[in-house]
Amino acid sequence: MIKHRLFWPLCVLSSLLLFNLIYSPDFFSIKMKNGHLYGSLIDILNFGSPLILVAIGMTLVIATSGIDLSVGSIVAITGAMACLSISKSTDQNGWVILLIAVGASLVLSALLGLWNGFLVARIGIQPIIATLILMVAGRGIAQLITNGQIITILSPKYQYIGSGSLLTLPVSIFIVAIMFAIASLLTRKTALGLFIESVGCKPTASRLAGVRSKTIILMVYMFCGLCAGIAGLILSSNVSSADGNNAGLWYELDAILAVVIGGTSLNGGRFNLTGTLIGALIIQTLTTTIYMVGVPPEITLVVKAVVVLAVCLIQSENFRDMLRGRRKPRSYSSKHEVKQHG
């Protein structure tokens, strides 16, 4: 059972929840107020939904042995774009303008993802650098869109995306569920998941085996951009404003963390969407717990650092060997070798 990939992430999550149960039994209570469900667990799902979305896209990108550093900037750009187009119209609550704003922002986010994919797949730039460009320039673009200010809008219909509720649950949970279902079905019920993993192992070999590796890389980055775009819409609609400078700040790092905690190797070649979901929930639960316990929020970062290191060390074979007291000389796995010559 210890060998199972989800064992350690689930252990961490349940020990976090257990801690909360002992510390404050209220944590698990869910109340019904005005037809909506309230409670810490719902909050974790609700506030964690943008992170989960971004992390889903990131998982697929990492599975192709890539990485996307630009998701935070895409979150900022999409939020800015949607809020700008809504604020420009006379009737901020109109259906037409709402659909145009949401549609245009999502198309834009997909295009930004496509740009990343183009640099990686067609030009052949290392993913970390290719996406660094948009990460650096993206925040500038978002500020350009908002003209360096925070755009505030008044549109209950737009607000519904981020803070409305459907069937007593927050809407954002349903959005996440749909995206997660789409990603899981596409990658696990069709051959697409296998193709993504094969591209992550060795793009050249997959191409020779008849997999369109470049198209797959393009699509995966586009999907990642789209996920970040939806997250941007949820975030900006939740606060009814767009802040080019701070929206989605550090999201790329949290998303990568969620993926790594979830057991997806940064070397690519295999992925685990359920693990990512758990990883993102761990990060969000951790944040909520820290606030609940009343530890100064400043310490969040230290706790996060310790958790990251702990999870990575547990997953490191060398570390486990060292704990068992049998250090071996540093060995190179075949995977490592592939990376070196790739």
Partner: protein, 320 residues
């Protein structure tokens, strides 16, 4: 005939000269020695941190903890000075913290085979978090030594001057060039970045070199932090927020390949200068807002990466 490997370096230098000349034609008062020296004065901490980062990237790694380490250094220095420690003890202490922090990250990366990206990310969170544990407020520094370091102007010809930070930064650049090209440590770093497995088979001290590279980067970041305290005269947890990106961008614009094995400290010097001159132009322009800096740097990154791609294409096809 110029060697192929020097082309990115020459392009960087050429671009810097080009941007500077363009600025000189466009704005009166731009073409002066002092504007050039101000580039050094305002970016000395960036320069110091970038030298350390160059080594890390040449060795095939990446260090995301640079900005946080600078913040931590300002914070530790400020709080120690506040408690009455003399600068002569404070400075070595923070430098030791930097070296130790970097070395530990290097050891974790090497021995537990954790990706540099993730290990230094944890380091980044840790260092930032420690800042806030020390204090969430700004701690001002009124120590006589620090204020004199901040205010001392070293007169050059005419009315031009530089600060002490510039001397430190230039010293680090020279030391970086020496370390990279004239020592065993430098050669080992390039070898590991080129191919770690081959280096191991050749009998190079891979573990020691990797740990030293990250230790050196930690040293550079804490030294940059000290220079930053001279500049800001305060310690604050949000100092140098996101600076790791500026540093990485400077190294890449300087012609260092993020895949490792190729790069020059001199290139990094000009990478920092290019960022500085873009900011100066934007401040001269007045109407252009600061976000243009980011967009321009993004475009420059793209151009340089494409250029390197174009230049290395030939070499890669040959190897295959």
């Amino acid at each position: 005939m110029v060697k192929r490997q020097y082309i990115p370096l020459l392009v960087t230098v050429g671009l810097f000269i080009l941007i500077f000349i363009t600025g000189s034609f466009r704005y009166t008062g731009f073409f002066s020695l002092q504007v050039l020296l101000n580039l050094l004065i305002d970016n000395s901490f960036l320069l110091i941190a970038a030298v350390g980062m160059t080594f890390v990237i040449v060795s095939g790694g990446i260090d995301l903890s640079v900005g946080s380490m600078i913040a931590l250094t300002t914070m530790v220095s400020a709080s120690l000075l506040h408690q009455g420690w003399p600068p002569i003890i404070v400075i070595p202490v923070v430098l030791m913290i930097g070296i130790l922090f970097g070395s530990v990250m290097g050891a974790i990366i090497h021995y537990f085979e954790i990706q540099p990206f993730i290990a230094t990310l944890a380091g980044m969170f840790l260092a930032r978090g420690l800042c806030y544990i020390i204090s969430i407020n700004t701690i001002t520094i009124d120590n006589a030594f620090y204020t004199s370091m901040a205010q001392t102007k070293i007169k050059l010809t005419g009315n031009n001057f530089i600060s002490i930070s510039v001397i430190i930064a230039l010293f680090i650049v020279v030391m970086g060039v020496y370390l990279a090209h004239y020592t065993k440590f430098g050669r080992n770093t390039y070898a590991i970045g080129g191919n770690e497995q081959s280096s191991l088979l050749m009998g190079l001290p891979v573990a020691r070199t990797k740990i030293m590279v990250f230790g050196f980067s930690g040293f550079c970041s804490s030294l940059a932090g000290i220079v930053f305290t001279f500049y800001m005269l305060s310690g604050y947890g949000l100092h140098a927020n996101g600076m790791e990106l500026d540093v990485i961008a400077a190294v890449v614009i300087g012609g260092t390949l993020l895949t490792g094995g190729v790069g020059y400290v001199v290139g990094t010097f000009f990478g920092v200068m290019i960022q500085g001159v873009i900011q100066t132009i934007i401040s001269f322009e007045g109407t252009l807002s600061s976000w243009w800096t980011r967009i321009v740097i993004g475009v420059l990154l793209l151009l340089f990466i494409l250029l390197q791609r174009l230049l290395s294409e030939h070499r890669f096809t040959k190897r295959r």
